[in-house]
């Protein structure tokens, strides 16, 4: 899977006030890959995700997307480069209906492909079709996660960023969502960058993966390699699988 480089994060340092959350992170995502980022709480995984989206912006280093430096762009312009995000905590619009939530995702093209894309999302997540006129806030956690991913897909992204899609969900639902991600990648060739606590599931799904500790990338390799790596097993898998 040595496709063209789509996203390149080079020596990125991000600060919250005076506290350095990321200290020189290098990550690369190629076209058509699923890349995951695993690590413990507070390692800076979500911060990296947010830095790619420009809030907060990186103080040093560069974020290059599709050959273009997007480090200092405001968030909404980064989103218009077709980087879609399903943010941590899902962040759907609770008082708007499922359909309206999806509509918001399709805003970039002014709803040009809305009907077509909504059908696709409904095929992928039939639950959303059943609940299309229900308010987002009344959905279950798993359905909200589906909606969050569906909304991100509505913008026809080149790169999909997923921040902890398994957070707070039952294992069976997590399985379903991960299968959907896999399918998207295989059938549509969608590039996915995934942040996960659930290291086992993430590594199994990914082509490549990075391990993050204290704001630094300490290890990288293919998903299989990392799964077999004794250090990774000890730190993230053995204790965390049950």
């Amino acid at each position: 899977m040595a496709g063209e480089t789509l996203l390149k994060v080079q020596g990125v340092e991000t600060y919250y006030g005076n506290i350095r959350a990321l200290s020189g992170v290098d990550v690369e995502v190629h076209k058509g890959e699923i890349v995951s980022l695993i690590g413990a709480n507070g390692a800076g995984k979500s911060t990296l995700m947010m830095t790619i989206c420009g809030s907060p912006q990186a103080k040093n280093g560069q974020v290059i997307f599709d050959g273009e430096d997007i480090t200092k762009l405001p968030t909404h312009l980064i989103a218009r480069k077709r980087i879609a995000q399903s943010p941590e905590g899902r962040r759907i619009f609770p008082r708007m209906t499922v359909l309206e939530n999806l509509q918001m995702g399709a805003n970039l093209d002014n709803l040009k492909y809305f009907k077509e894309d909504v059908e696709k999302v409904f095929v992928m997540f039939p639950r959303l079709k059943e609940r299309q006129s229900q308010r987002g806030g009344t959905l279950s956690g798993g359905e909200q996660q589906m909606l969050s991913i569906g909304r991100a897909l509505m913008s026809r992204p080149k790169l999909l960023l997923l921040d902890e899609p398994s957070l707070g969900l039952a294992p069976l639902i997590v399985k379903g969502i991960f299968e959907a991600i896999k399918k998207l990648n295989k059938e549509e060739g969608l590039t996915v960058f995934l942040v996960e606590q659930n290291a086992f599931a993430a590594l199994k799904l990914s082509d490549r993966a990075y391990v993050m500790v204290n704001g630094k990338v300490t290890m990288s390799g293919s998903g299989k390699e990392l799964l077999a790596n004794p250090e990774v097993r000890a730190a993230y898998l053995e204790g965390g699988r049950h």
Partner: protein
């Protein structure tokens, strides 16, 4: 069986009496010092006090009897009704609506169109003045203001406590430009709206990064700044004296409502000279302005900008990650809301013929906001109902002469306006925490819309 129900009945009565007495005691304790004792200054300018046992007794009796009735009769009745409904399998939310419910908007519109004529038929020419002006126009001004504020607070979720500032900008724009340059109402109405919208953007810039409580405080300050400028910039605004003798609106420049004018409306139509025709004309003008506000709001909600406003209210971070420019979204919300405030302001100046900073105090902002919240944020129908209840209710208090027979001859119901206002708010918020109309109309449909367009084609609407 009969024995047990009887036993229940007497048990219920005992409970009701007990709770009633308790409520009476609490009311007695609460009102003893506030109502039971009155302080006043005597002829030597000394502060002395006297007791008002009668009034206190009335307050206590209201509390006690009210509680007794609630516990003894109203609550069992409601429970029984709920039980009966549950038994018959009818859900609270049923699809079947009464005729009145279904056609509420059409009925309301027809009623409003006929209202001035109805008032004139029932109360005579001079008698109807009060109903057209004090009730009709007054309420519609607040409906329009509340609908304008609804765009900022209800749709975009930006809590604005200084909305009256834009109302003031609109009113003074009309007053000053018409007094100094002699422009007509129909030219200045859009101009006042644009100026107010411009001020909306000026307010919008510094508060872009603020939300919730912080935003509320800054907008509150903005409202006060505008008022203080109006008071202190005496060269232009004549300070607290205000500007009087503001030109009346004309009938689109064709007929004038000035008594001495050659093309006087009343003369041209052979009507007896009375100001009621001018008021009727104003009624239709503000009604039209309200309908424009409603139409624009409904249309905007279905457009990308309206959707962005609502999404902004829900989650700002998610908005940005979906490519929405939150800066322009907020500014357009402020500007659009302010523009309608400006329209209402210039209408107010034309109707009143006099503006002074007195009309644009914080209380006005609070009342408008209260109407928006009571009506159910975002719901146009709910807000209109809330405006009728709140503004119409306070106007109605002036009419409550009979209350003097209960509370004594120096009872002036208008003075209790704010007390009742607060009471009404508490009651509504207790029973309907989301306002009169708490449900939000969705704007996106997949199948329903097809059905609607199909029925339109059948009727030949394209």
């Amino acid at each position: 069986m009969a024995y047990t129900t009887e036993n229940n009945q007497s048990g219920l009565m005992a409970k009701a009496v007990k709770e009633g007495v308790l409520a009476g005691l609490i009311a007695f304790g609460m009102f003893l010092l506030f109502v039971g004792i009155e302080t006043y200054q005597d002829i030597n300018n000394q502060l002395v006090w006297r007791t008002r046992w009668g009034l206190l007794a009335v307050f206590v009796a209201i509390a006690a009897i009210g509680r007794f009735l609630t516990v003894g009769f109203i609550k069992p009745h409601l429970d029984a009704r709920k039980l009966a409904k549950a038994k018959s399998g009818v859900l609270e939310i049923s699809d079947k609506k009464s005729f009145f419910h279904k056609h509420f908007l059409k009925i309301a519109l027809v009623f409003l169109l006929c209202y001035p004529f109805l008032a004139m038929m029932i109360f005579g020419r001079q008698g109807s003045l009060k109903y057209v002006d004090n009730f009709g126009i007054q309420i519609l001004i607040y409906v329009m203001l509340a609908w304008g504020l609804n765009i900022v607070v209800g749709l975009a979720g930006l809590l604005d406590l200084g909305y009256v500032a834009f109302y003031a900008v609109g009113a003074y724009s009309y007053a000053l430009l018409s007094a100094n340059f002699g422009f007509s109402f129909w030219l200045l109405l859009p101009m006042a709206g644009i100026l107010a919208g411009f001020w909306g953007i000026i307010l919008g810039f510094p508060v872009l990064r603020l939300r919730g409580d912080y935003l509320a405080i800054v907008t509150l300050a903005f409202g006060e700044i505008i008022r203080l400028v109006l008071i202190n910039w005496t060269d232009v605004t004549r300070g607290t004296f205000g500007i009087s003798g503001i030109a009346k609106a004309s009938f689109f420049g064709i007929w004038s409502f000035d008594v001495g004018a050659a093309n006087n409306f009343n003369k041209a139509w052979g009507l007896p000279s009375s100001s009621v025709y001018y008021k009727m004309f104003l009624f239709y003008v503000i009604l039209a302005l309200c309908l424009i506000t409603a139409y624009v709001t409904i249309r905007l909600r279905r457009m990308p900008i309206g959707r962005a406003w609502e999404a902004l209210r829900e989650d700002e971070i998610a908005c940005r990650s979906l490519g929405i420019n939150t800066v322009t979204t907020k500014l357009t919300a402020f500007a659009t809301g302010a523009m309608f405030g400006g329209f209402a302001g210039s209408f107010f100046a034309a109707r009143q013929g006099f503006v002074s900073p007195e009309s644009f105090v914080f209380l006005e902002s609070a009342v408008i906001l209260a109407i928006v919240v009571l009506g159910g944020m975002g719901s146009l129908t709910g807000i209109a109902i809330a405006a009728v209840v709140m503004v119409g209710g306070t106007e109605l208090l002036r009419e409550m002469e009979f209350l003097k027979h209960i509370f004594g001859p120096d009872f002036t119901p208008e003075l209790y306006r704010m007390l009742l206002f607060g009471l009404a708010m508490i009651i509504v918020m207790l029973f309907k925490p989301r306002g009169f109309v708490g449900t939000r109309e969705p704007t996106a449909f997949l199948k329903e819309r097809k059905a609607v367009s199909g029925s339109f084609t059948k009727e030949g609407h394209g």
